[in-house]
Amino acid sequence: MRLRPGLKGGQLRVLSEDQVYDIHLAILRVLEEHGVEIHHEATLKILDGAGADVDFKKQVAKFPEHLVEESIKKAPKIVRCCGRNPKEDFIVEGRKVYFGPCAGATHIFDLETGERRFGRLSDMADVAKISDALPNIDFVMGLTSASDVPSIMVGLHEPYAVMSNTCKHVQAFCYGDGDLTKAMIKMAELVAGGSDELKKRPIISLYNEPSSPLIFGSEYVEALVEWSEAGLPLIWAPCPISGATAPITLAGSIVQGIAESLAGNVICQLVNPGVPFIFGSVPLVLDMKSALVSYGTVETMIKEVMLAQVAEYYQLPSWGTGGCSDSKVLDEQAVAEAALNLTIAALSGNNLVHDVGFIESAKGGSIELLVICDEIIAMLRRVMKGVSVDDETLATDTIMEAGHGGSFLGLKHTLKYFSSEHLISELMDRSGWVGWKREGEKTLAQRAREKAKKILEEHEIEPLPKDVKEEIEKIMREVEKAAAKKAA
């Protein structure tokens, strides 16, 4: 069965082997001597039983070396991520890179009016549909956040809207809470056709995170445990901010972030040995002028590569970041930063590169940027595909055939090899001044917008079966009732 091809990454290195090893030792030290504060009694008990050094009063667990290393071994090196359509499945392994948007940005830019406004559930459905159509987007989240849905239900409405509008692998952005997570798993089981089917072909993974520095919030641990018990792929990656919630130094912030992630892996592998775990650390920095978080600085890019190198050392699947910007609007800064960090993420080899399409430091979603990044990814894929050098492509015969001062345009060789050697640009304009004016003098942003709108008009998604939808909506009504009671 043909699967989605990953882009072969991992070519870029910023650390030597010795440096990677030093980082690994520092991670072990932090976990063994300092530990993590976990606001979840039951999990502390599990860790205590497994040999961690737990202070129940302070709620701090310290992890001995062997516990960390055993759990790294238990985590699978090969993780299958599936879509409603099996042709959209892909395999996370080695340094294969896949791309997708995130969720959680409060704002989005309206495709019709260009207005920056709060995101709605319908936007998330649109993003899912567009991501479904974009050939180089592998996994799907809704880019923004649903401000028009009761906040206690956001964690269910969003993945439901996304799953209804794509047949690719879906990731659910975790808002915490064990009951909500249980409901989400039930919903996914309904779509997959049962709990065994879901485990065999996981059509959804969870993007969950601790609070840097080194605090695991109770609701997020609940979700971590529920998801692990269900045996579904899980991402547990913090967002340590250099200079604020993590060391200002690049190495130090990676040490802390990975320590936070690996501590999560220990818990997951104890709850359900062999559960697919994707580790990581979103490489953020504090801007020292605005006191806001930055996604687009060069330091975030360097940290991205460092993370991938440590992932390679552990042979664990990793969570990458790219295709995003600090710019407030889709302007030159946005495209420059997104193109650069997308390239670095691909070259680093982190397996699942998320945040594609984020601007305003992940507070804004730009569908146009997502569409532009899709084409950039296509270009990166072409670079990584490599070059074929053989008698045919060396073309000595053809060179002689064309003759001195001749033309290659009409040759059979050109016709034969054009599509395998060259990528056709769709959004990047390669015409002349006159041609460009004739076509309406459009900018890249305008062309991207038109492409997105065309997809929304023409692209068809196989809907969820009616009975599945009814069951899911029934579950959501029950959860909403129970949550309202709890809040009262």
Binding site: S151, A244, T245, M288, A291
Partner: protein, 217 residues
């Protein structure tokens, strides 16, 4: 001679030297310099220089925090106890009680606002994080606060900001203080909805809002 020691205090702040700041504050007292004069003629001058450099883009946040720490330690450990003993009056723009609301442990942003307010010339009482509503109210009463500043980072803890205003009303001091709110999920619209007096989208704005509310500058 006293002029020299005030220069030392100013330079200690400008050079982020906590030990030197504390040491020269002690020297100032030993020399018989009035503690209020030591604060205003020495430390505050240093903070003003730091503030200007930050605005010009020559210094950054971590410099602000380090300089403020030097000044704060000299004041808290050496000069303020003396000010209180003498029942002296410090020239401050106003007294601010600030904290991150109950249920919320995020405080970096709030810490920055506290530092900026301090540098701007306010007397700041930082209650820390996960602060119960009653503590906001009690401290406001105890120090005769002009401003109560509440920070929240989560959409869930946001709601506590409204409860703080209700707490101030219940204690009968709502009309004696100005309430300002901030944090990532906070908006102007929310601030107005709960009856807050001001909102700042970032630390710089918080300072100008605080100044405006008290009619200072």
């Amino acid at each position: 001679m006293s002029h020299e020691v005030l220069e030392e205090m100013k330079n200690a702040v400008v050079n982020f030297d906590v030990d030197k700041a504390v040491e020269s504050a002690r020297k100032a007292l030993e020399m018989g310099i009035d503690p209020v004069e030591a604060i205003e003629g020495g430390l505050t001058k240093g903070l003003r220089i730091i503030g200007e450099k930050f605005e010009k883009g020559e210094l950054f946040l971590m410099h602000i925090v380090a300089a403020a720490e030097a000044a704060r330690r000299a004041i808290d450990e050496v000069l303020q106890p003396e000010v209180l003993k003498r029942k002296a009056e410090r020239k401050v723009l106003g007294r601010v009680v600030i904290g991150t609301v109950a249920g919320d442990i995020h405080e970096i942003g709030k810490n920055l606002v506290a530092v900026m307010l301090f540098i701007a010339g306010f007397e700041v009482f930082d209650l820390g994080r996960d602060v119960p509503i009653e503590e906001f109210v009690k401290k406001a009463k105890d120090v005769n606060a002009d401003i109560v500043a509440a920070s929240a980072l989560l959409s869930t803890t946001l709601l506590v900001q409204r409860e703080i205003i209700e707490g101030l009303e219940a204690a009968g001091i709502r009309d004696k203080v100005k309430v300002i709110v901030g944090g990532a999920p906070v908006t102007q619209e929310w601030a107005e909805r709960i009856g807050a007096d001001g909102y700042g989208a970032d630390a710089m704005e918080a300072v100008s809002v605080a100044k405006r509310l008290l009619g200072a500058e």
